[in-house]
Symmetry: C2
Subunit: 140 residues, 2 copies
């Protein structure tokens, strides 16, 4: 079977009804409600300043393999971050502002209200060795 | 239905048979074979130096909501990047070294041989404004 099924572990609450450009989301704080059955999995997450949110582009319908990006370029879907893609999974690194029980306040999530959340992970900066040497001291 | 199904779009080839610590993968070059039906989606991907690979932790069985991390800490699964998690999706930013047709050579992918690939996206550095100001000029 060339497909895989994953559970939804939570939901986005931010009152935003329609998708828009990334910039519109950069200042927005969203609440992620993690379903009660998964809440224990948040233990010590508040020690992380940045987390990756994996979510389902649940409003996207279909996709084109070659697509026009938000800035008008023609690119393959894998050379774009379009929500219309074969596996409609969004990944965004956000700032974790606060946790209260099973609810996380995160800044910069480009997902609309009601978006199904698939996973949450502490963020890692994978950028190059040289860039890491510059960044690392600032994060301690 | 609180679950979502996604297609597999490709497969990892690197000859690595068993999972190991992240460091062991940092110097490894893997080939991602994108299935022919999705190959057109790679158009212009070679313009990106770094890409995010989303893949299925297909060998992981079950999960614990609270887990011991690779360095011995007790943490919630969402405060770890353990492969044993409710939605077993890995996300790793890798360096794109080369493309030949539907095959990508990528460096630093922490996935074993045969791993199903779910998605490929151009990488974005989401780290803080101040960190971005330091990094951006180096990337032009």
């Amino acid at each position: 079977m060339n497909q895989v099924t994953f559970p939804v572990i939570g939901r986005v609450e931010n009152g935003i009804r329609e998708p828009g450009p990334l910039e519109e989301f950069s200042g927005i704080t969203s609440v992620i409600e993690v379903f009660a059955e998964y809440a224990e999995g948040l233990y010590r997450i508040e020690e992380h300043e940045y987390v990756d949110i994996l979510f389902h582009f649940h409003r996207a319908r279909g996709y084109d393999l070659v697509t026009r990006t938000y800035n008008g370029e023609i690119k393959g879907v894998f050379a774009s971050r379009s929500p219309r893609r074969p596996a409609g999974i969004g990944v965004t690194t956000v700032r974790l502002e606060k946790r209260e029980g099973n609810r996380l306040w995160v800044k910069g999530l480009d997902a609309i209200d009601g978006t199904p959340v698939l996973d949450i992970k502490p963020a890692v900066n994978y950028f190059s060795e040289e860039e890491r040497r510059i960044i690392q001291p600032k994060r301690r």
